[in-house]
Symmetry: none
Subunit: 201 residues, 2 copies
DNA sequence: CTGATTGTAGCGAATAAATAGCGAACTTGG
DNA sequence: CCAAGTTCGCTATTTATTCGCTACAATCAG
């Protein structure tokens, strides 16, 4: 995970700019700040730094770069060895598989946040009160995905997403609860669920 | 948090106005304050900011905009900002709580590994096939904890742990499956479950 | 030592997508 | 009713992404 001189300059520029202005620079601003004349170069730098895990940004979104704090501080408590599979009644398959897992495997390079779940609206989906859902910030969703949506601007829920003509059906995963039907215009998708995290006391 | 220059100007105007007057501005006041001539533009800005979780507002109500405090997004790659709670039918409570979550919060400084779950033996516990269980390596367990155990040296399972006199009962969380009873000597505890991680395709 | 390979650094142009804006018509809460 | 908020269709601008290309340095196999 070596960092080059040039890459450090890029990082420094990014954090200074963001610090000063409260929003991150556009590629053009980065280019002029670093004396570059092509946006492609900026793009390449940013992509490389992102792959090294030093930056985070959302795809195709303006000024969405975030400089991450150096991760060396607390050592790898975040990547777990994956020992194999377990199944009731069979021995652990000690497979050589992905061999480790971390939140990064779920997050990828998306912009993700967490929400703590209250209530049982997704119980049949095996998401229960107290779980944390990991949500990618996006405003589109595909058929059947679990999403976080605002209905009529103030009503936030966790539901499965289905299109029905001009309307949208938001389907709770709990037989006891009724789906919400609403015109597409009044449903604002906040993000879609990439995964969940549960912690036992 | 992916905020653009213009969006920051809008936010700044809103907080200043509200600060000064004790109530939030009407769309027309916002428009003139920002040099805009169409209320539609104001509306779009407010809606976008709301979707980014920086504002709160009631539908079709005058001067109902609330600027939310900036959620300090100290997100490491595996540390996710915790935005609040979500429940069916209620707005997101924008809580100031632990403010972020990561695998480290589950792991602490214990020795932990992950196993991929196969089968439905813990379905009633909302642990399903494909989930990863995060397991602390230990050889003791307390009453009722979910553990990974070897029975008779080769049979690894995920079960709840109960002592019954000189015997041990390993209880699956699935009504269709029977518990295992075994003498304490033939049950080797491999670890106990601290949490689970699920990734949606 | 030499040549092949790889990774970093850079350019300009074309494209694609999100953001920002307009006016007019429509809806809603008080 | 009426003023404030909302939605619609439509531009324009800003910003990000992708492509093909050059150049330089470090590394590695033969």
């Amino acid at each position: 995970m070596a960092i080059t001189r040039r890459q450090k300059e890029v990082i420094d520029f990014l954090s200074n700019f963001t610090q000063k202005n409260g929003y991150s620079p556009s590629y053009e601003e980065i280019a002029s700040g670093l004396g570059l004349s092509s946006l492609a170069t900026v793009h390449k730098h940013v992509t490389n730094l992102q792959n090294k895990g030093l930056l985070q940004r959302a795809h195709n979104r303006s000024r969405s770069i975030d400089v991450l704090p150096p991760r060396s501080s607390k050592k790898g408590f975040d990547r777990l060895p994956l020992m194999g599979r377990i199944a009731a009644g069979q021995p652990i398959e000690a497979v050589e598989m992905a061999e480790s897992i971390s939140l990064g495997d779920i997050i990828g390079n998306r912009e993700v946040f967490a929400l703590e779940v209250r209530g049982d609206s997704m119980r049949d989906e095996h998401i229960v009160s107290g779980d944390y859902v990991l949500v990618e910030r996006t405003n589109t969703a595909r058929e059947g995905e679990i999403i976080v949506a605002l209905v009529d601007g103030y009503d936030a829920t966790l539901k499965r997403f289905y299109r029905e003509g001009a309307n949208i059906r938001l389907q709770p995963s709990n037989k006891d609860m009724a789906p919400i039907y609403a015109p597409a215009a009044s449903v604002a998708i906040q993000g879609k669920v990439l995964g969940i995290l549960r912690k036992y006391a």
